[in-house]
Symmetry: C2
Subunit: 384 residues, 2 copies
Amino acid sequence: MISHASRRMFPSSACRMMSTSSFIASELTISPTSSPKEKLPKEELSFGDSFSDHMMEIDWTKEGGWGKPRISEYANLELSPASTGLHYGIQCFEGMKCYSTAEGGLRLFRPDRNMARLNSSMSRLAMPSFDGGELTSLLKEFCKVEESWVPQGAGYSLYLRPTAIGTHPFLGVDVSAHVKLFVIASPVGPYYPQGFKPVSLYADSVNKRAWPGGVGGFKLGGNYGPTIEPAKEAMAMGYNQVLWMWGDNDEVTECGAMNLFFVLEEDGKKILQTAPLDRGDILPGVTRQSIIDLAEGWEGVEVREEFPRMGDIKKAADEGRLLEAFGSGTAAVVSPIERIHYEGSDIDIDAGMGSDSITKRAWDDLNAIYYGEVNGPEGWGVDI
Amino acid sequence: MISHASRRMFPSSACRMMSTSSFIASELTISPTSSPKEKLPKEELSFGDSFSDHMMEIDWTKEGGWGKPRISEYANLELSPASTGLHYGIQCFEGMKCYSTAEGGLRLFRPDRNMARLNSSMSRLAMPSFDGGELTSLLKEFCKVEESWVPQGAGYSLYLRPTAIGTHPFLGVDVSAHVKLFVIASPVGPYYPQGFKPVSLYADSVNKRAWPGGVGGFKLGGNYGPTIEPAKEAMAMGYNQVLWMWGDNDEVTECGAMNLFFVLEEDGKKILQTAPLDRGDILPGVTRQSIIDLAEGWEGVEVREEFPRMGDIKKAADEGRLLEAFGSGTAAVVSPIERIHYEGSDIDIDAGMGSDSITKRAWDDLNAIYYGEVNGPEGWGVDI
C-alpha cells in the first residue's frame, strides 16, 4: 500500500527548511465565547471528562507552513473521514497542568520538557516541528483566557492537552500534508481525593507495551489504545493496572500509563531504581525526570537508571529489601504500589506514605513547586 | 493516568452481552446526495485521494449498543477534540475493493476475511464486535449505491475503507464508550499503469514495525504512522520501501505495508516462503492468505510459513537459488522486488514477470477472480 504514495514525499531539503520555521505567538487571535459554560463544583470534577470554554488551534500545510494561532470557543472539529490522523495513527499529545498558586497566580511546570517531547513525537510521525518557546507563550495566553477554569486548592489544576493530528484526506501511507495542533483543557481535582490509595499491578508476561526499535519513547496515540484490553484483563483478575515487562529477563519498563520506580535497600543506602531511556522504549516522563533530578540531591539516596528485573525485585522483597514502589506521571504525580502479581504469586509492598518514604518526599517536593510554595530548580516553576 | 479511569470500565459480563449483538443490515437508511460530484477521467485516478458521493456510518454507545446503519452524502465528520480516536489510537481499518466484472456486475473478494479481521482489530482495542455477515450485506448495498463510481477495466476498482474510531470525549485511557464505524470509498486505477514496476527495499536494522507481544497482527492505525519516517529515510538512500526485520537472526517480517514472499529453489522444487502468523507480529493479509491457498495447489511449489532469515536469503541469492521476491497487499495485489539492501550491500533479484514466475501466476490467478473471469474457491468471488 505504501509504494506509490511514498514516492510523493517531500525531499529532505524541503523538510529541513520547514523545520526551522514555526508559528509565532504574537500572531495569536482570540475570539472569546459569547456563551460561557457553567462550571461544575470543584468537588465534582473528575479526570478528563469536562472541558473549559475555549480551545487553541494552529494548522499547518505542506504548501503554506504554519498558520496563525487562534483561541476560540471549544467546539467539535470538522475532519475529513479520510484524515490521516483517523487512519494511520498520525497523532501525538502532551499532558501538562496549569496550577493556581497560593498567591493567586498561575503556574506551569517545566513546560520546556513538554515542548521538546511534543516536537520529538511529531518528528517521529513525520509531522512539522515548531519553536517550543512560542508554544509555551501561547499556552500562557491560553491559561490567562481560561483563568477562571483553573480550580484552586491542593491537588486541583487545569489539565492541558496539546495534541497534534494529521488532517490530510489521503489514504496513502505517507507524510501528512496537513496537520492540526490543538490544545484543550480540562479542570481536574486531586487524583486521590481521600489521600493516597495504593494500587496493585499485574505483571503481564504476554502483552508488551513497547519494544526496542519501536516507538515507546514517544508520546504517540498508538501506544495507548492497545493497553486498554490488557488492563481490562488485569482488572478482571483483581489488579488495578498492568506492569509492563520486556525480554527474557522480565525487565520492568512501565506500569499502566506511568513510569515506575522501586526503592531498594542496599548496603545501608536507599537505591531509587527506574528503567533508563536510552533503549527508546520508555516514555521520557517529565515527572520521572523531575523525581530523578530531585533525588540526586537527597542524602542517603542513590538514583539508578537501570532496568529492574522482576526476579531481582521478588528476591529483594523476599529479603525485606524492597522498601517502596510507585508510578509517576502528570495526572497522579506519584502513585504508590502495594502489590505486584508476578509468576503466580503476589509480592506485597509496604506502600506506607510515612515521613521518611521516598514516595512521600517526591510528592511533597513536587507539589511545593507546582503550587508556588517554592520555586525549585531554575526553569521548573514557570509563572504566567 | 490510567488509574481512576480504568476502574470505570464495564464489567466483562456486560461486555460479553454486548458482543453478541450487532447492527442489522435491514435497518439501513439511504439518503442520496442531491449534488453528485463530477468524476475524474479514470486515467487520472490515483490511490486514495478522491472519494465517491456517499459514506456509510454506524454509531455505537455503551448505553445503547449499535445504532442503525445509514448511507448519506460523503461529508466531514464532526468529532469532539477530546475523542478517544484522536488521542489514544483507538482506530482500526480495512482495505477492500469492489470490482466491475467483465459481465457488468460488481464483485467483492473474500469479504468474510476482512470482516473477521476488523472484528479482531476492534476487539484488540476494546471496541464492540459485530456480525460480519451484516456488514458484508451493508457493503453490498453501499456498492450498489456507488455503482457509477466503480471504474471499469483491468486494474480498476472502487477501494473500500471500513474504519472504526473511538468517539467518546474522555481523556482517561479507557474503553471508548462511543464508537463510530464508517465506510468511505475511493475509485482507484491500476497500481502499475505501465505494467509492473519492481521495487527496491532497504532492510532496516534499527526500526522495528512490530514485535512479539505487540499488535502487528492487527490492522490498527498506530501500526502505520511510525513507518513513515523510516520509509523517508530509506527513500533518501535510494530505496522504495523498508524491509522490516525482527530479532537477532534478522527474521524478515513484512515490507512497507505489505506481506512479503520469497521464492527459493531447493532440491528442484520452488519453495514459496513467508512469515507465519502465530507469533502475532505479522498482519494476516487477505492477499497473503489467498496466495498461500492458491499455491498449495500448484505442482512443484511448496509453501513454507516460516520466518525467512536475511542471512539465508543472502546466501540463497549468492548460490543462485533466490528466484523471486514480492510484496502482497490489497492495493498492489503483488509487487515484485528487484533489489534488497542488507548489511551494506545490495542483493539483486531477477524480478522478471516471465510466464513461469510465481509472482506472475499469483497476479494472474487473483485478477481472474477479482474481475469475474473465474470464481475461484468457494466464497472468494462474492457477486453483488
